[in-house]
């Protein structure tokens, strides 16, 4: 009995910490900009694929290769953060004050990213790089002319098809001359596997039960990330700016805080955290283009339950959902209530992973009847709060 309770707590915490790691970035961005990033799961996926790549680079290094995971964490953070920065500068900043449109746009980005990892190959990379070079380089050159505003539309109309055409031609030429080496997708549609380093395989035996090291590593990672974010938000100048913009955007802007920079920075930070989460997730199972999709709804629920006011809301929300999900899903409650037959049957009905989600959702909706703005709502006097 004690072992099974311990098992429940440990696994629940472990599920919750993955959820927390995934939701942390989302919650910060949502708190600041009111934007739900539907591509958050895909940023996680990018992090996971980055881990896979780093692992393969480190493979020939012998004993040293067992340390790849630390480099992978950094690389995943950087890749996802850069992608987030591009996303914010390229799309989201044009959609301010239109959160529902942002939802749709980021969904489009997530579709593109999914297909991108499926079909990315040298040809595609060259295509993309060449297009960016030609198009944005061309625009940059034209921008120097004094009459740029008048010829803007014309310039775009000429540059866009021209650079697309050149990029596609060069790409297909490359494909023809190098054959399969250039056109073969790097990852393909199949899942890829990340093997945990040797020192993370196995587990800590307690009684007849084993606590897997990977799970403990993820919990540790989550604690470090939360502490890092807490420190960043509360003890650094940029953290102060982020908090002030979260509280009152207009007033912060009036006081000289560069809100656009704060937005870009926060979005990059949130995306980077998604990358770290993706790296962690890759230790738990194989990774595919759809990996991100499995996480988005749950992480959104964490944000809804936690509220946007405080970091602690996200922590409590993630742990609550993680533990409840696990406890219901494994049917523990039905064994606890064997004395009362109907209750036991009720919990037994929901004792699968997918049915547990049904009950958790019902519980969340019930919870929202009492706390519509989540556990720790933003305090304020505005009507819309």
């Amino acid at each position: 009995m004690a072992i099974s309770i311990l098992d429940g707590i440990f696994n629940g915490l472990s599920v919750g910490s993955v959820l927390l790691l995934a939701a942390l970035g989302l919650a910060i961005v949502f708190g600041l900009m009111g934007v739900i990033n539907m591509a958050h799961g895909e940023l996680m996926m990018l992090g996971a694929y980055t881990t896979f790549v780093v692992q393969n680079i480190f493979k020939p290094l012998g004993a040293f290769s067992q340390l790849y995971i630390f480099f992978a964490l950094i690389a995943a953070f950087v890749v996802a953060a850069l992608m987030g920065l591009v996303l914010e500068r390229g799309v989201i900043r044009y959609l301010y004050g239109r959160p529902l449109e942002t939802l749709l746009a980021t969904w489009g980005v997530s579709l593109i990213l999914q297909q991108f990892v499926r079909s990315v190959s040298w040809v595609l990379v060259v295509n993309l790089a060449l297009f960016c070079l030609l198009y944005f380089g061309g625009l940059w050159l034209v921008r120097k002319r004094p009459d740029f505003e008048q010829i803007r539309k014309l310039a775009i109309a000429v540059l866009l098809p021209l650079s697309v055409g050149i990029a596609l031609t060069v790409g297909s030429l490359l494909g023809k001359s190098f054959g399969l080496t250039a056109t073969k997708p790097w990852f393909g549609a199949q899942n890829v596997d990340v093997t945990a380093p040797k020192w993370l395989q196995g587990g800590l035996p307690i009684g007849g039960y084993q606590l897997p090291y990977t799970r403990m590593f993820i919990m540790l990672l989550t604690v470090l990330c939360v502490l890092g974010i807490y420190f960043f938000l509360n003890k650094t100048p940029w953290g102060l700016r982020i908090r002030s913009v979260t509280q009152n955007r207009n007033m912060s802007a009036c006081l000289g805080i560069p809100t656009a920079k704060v937005d870009a920075l926060t979005f990059a930070l949130g995306s980077g955290l998604a990358g770290v989460a993706g790296c962690a997730v890759s230790l738990l199972g194989s990774v595919g283009p759809n990996t991100g999709q499995n996480y988005i709804v749950n992480t959104f629920m964490v944000v809804v339950v936690g509220g946007v006011g405080k970091l602690v809301g996200t922590i409590v929300g993630a742990m609550a959902i993680g533990i409840t999900d696990y406890v219901i899903g494994t049917g523990m409650l039905s064994t606890l209530f064997t004395a009362i037959q109907p209750v036991s049957n009720f919990f037994a009905f929901f004792a699968t992973t997918s049915m547990a989600k049904v009950l958790v959702f019902v519980l969340i909706v019930v919870f929202l009847q009492f706390r519509p703005a989540g556990l720790f709502p933003q305090k304020g006097r505005t009507v819309d709060a």
Binding site: F30, G34, V35, I36, V91, Y94, L95, P99, L100, E101, T102, L103, L104, A105, W107, G108, V109, S110, L111, I112, Q114, Q115, F116, R118, S119, Q293, I296, V297, F300, M301, V303, V304, T352, S354, M355, K357, V358, F361, I364, V365, L368, Q369, P372, V383, D384
Partner: protein, 389 residues
């Protein structure tokens, strides 16, 4: 005073005339679709057209809540699928009396010996017809009530509806014995004694879909043109102000969400008839968001736009994904971005504003633009003509 009366009379007269014109156009298009299009298209293409017209009914529902009321539902796949399942259950119960088992075949496969109680009423067609509309409507109403009651809205509402989609998806996937799980309900035989899959019956369903679409259009047109419609737009544009004016938005939002759910259910039923299958797959997240993009492409808050968008996007999807299956997702993702960033009011919205200007400048009649709605206002037009003298 006299001028006022004349003005009133004139607007009523023009209103009636434009309504008649609109009805005439709608009927003409419907007749074209029913009579002439079958001669032009192959059976396969015509069936596709029928399916897409069914999807246009959902698009109308989405337009009603998103375009007019500003509620972005990412869960209409649920209502769509529930409508489909309601009809499919009736179809699965069309078992010949001399068959060895009086149960749908998948049930015997999973060892079910007795028909579950909630399948019983679906023997009756009238019940099924009501259920197709009412089950989604009641669910939408209930969900809407528990969400709107607490003034949960905006992004929160969208996420909750999305979560509901996942929940129902999981539920239907997990219930092999009750709903045949992942495979869904398929292999329909007869409805009213007519074989479901024969071309003749399919044509009847096609015509029925068009009739329902016209009815749905008329309903939405009626809803959005009256005071109720104005109220919906007011809720969209400034809910707090609407509340301060003395209205309680909750009831209206719940009602319009339920109507929209019912339309989705109807669409699901017609879609199921024409595809011959309904499975939990149509409750995945992606499909529900796709529905929203149909409306966005056509033009929010324009009913014609919703229909047009559903047809355009789906035809583009079926042709493009046939030709380039690998990169279809790139197209789709790009579509989301382009529509949101560059075409926020959709095709119809663009035609009404910039397209018109472009047309004018092409013809060399570059008018000085004033506030656009002033140009269309009948009263302003009247005053311009009469006050000068």
């Amino acid at each position: 005073m006299a001028a006022n009366l004349a003005l009133g009379g004139q607007t009523a007269e023009t209103k009636r005339r434009s309504l008649l014109l609109e009805a005439g156009i709608v009927i003409a298009i419907a007749l074209f679709l029913i009579v002439i299009l079958p001669l032009l298209l192959s059976d396969f293409r015509l069936n596709l057209m029928g399916r897409f017209l069914a999807l246009a009914i959902v698009a109308l529902g989405i337009d009603l809540i998103w375009g007019f009321t500003g509620l972005l539902s990412l869960g209409h796949g649920v209502f769509f699928t529930l409508g489909g399942y309601a009809l499919a259950m009736h179809l699965k119960l069309q078992i010949p009396a001399d068959a060895s088992s009086q149960l749908p075949e998948f049930m015997s496969l999973y060892g079910v010996t007795e028909l579950p109680w909630f399948w019983q009423p679906f023997y009756s067609f009238p019940f099924t017809a009501v259920a197709v509309l009412m089950i989604p409507a009641l669910l939408a109403g209930f969900l809407g009530y528990v969400i709107f009651r607490n003034r949960i809205r905006g992004v929160y509402f969208s996420i909750l509806t999305q979560a509901a989609t996942i929940i129902f998806f999981n539920f239907f996937n997990g219930q092999q014995k009750l709903f045949n799980g992942t495979n869904g309900l398929t292999d329909f035989q007869t409805l009213f004694g007519a074989k479901v899959n024969s071309p003749g019956t399919q044509y009847v369903y096609y015509v029925l879909t068009i009739i329902f679409l016209v009815a749905a259009y008329a309903l939405c047109r009626w809803i959005t043109s009256g005071r109720f419609g104005h109220l919906l737009v007011a809720i969209r544009d400034d809910e707090s102000r609407t509340r301060f004016t003395g209205y309680n938005p909750t009831g209206f939002k719940v009602l319009v969400f339920a109507i929209s759910g019912a339309l989705a259910g109807l669409a699901g039923a017609m879609f199921t008839l024409q595809t011959g299958i309904i499975s939990p797959n149509s409750m995945n997240i992606a499909f529900s968001i796709e529905m929203v993009i149909w409306v966005a492409v056509g033009g929010r808050a324009t009913l014609v736009g919703a229909i047009l968008g559903a047809l355009t996007v789906n035809f583009a999807k079926s042709t493009l994904s046939e030709k380039f299956p690998d990169i279809w997702l790139f197209f789709q993702g790009g579509l989301f971005l382009v529509v949101v960033l560059f075409l926020p009011s959709g095709i119809i919205g663009w035609l009404r504003t910039e397209g018109r200007n472009l047309w004018r400048s092409v013809r060399g009649r570059n008018q000085v633009a004033t506030y656009p709605s002033l140009e269309e206002d009948a009263e302003v037009e009247y005053e311009r003509q009469n006050i000068g003298d």
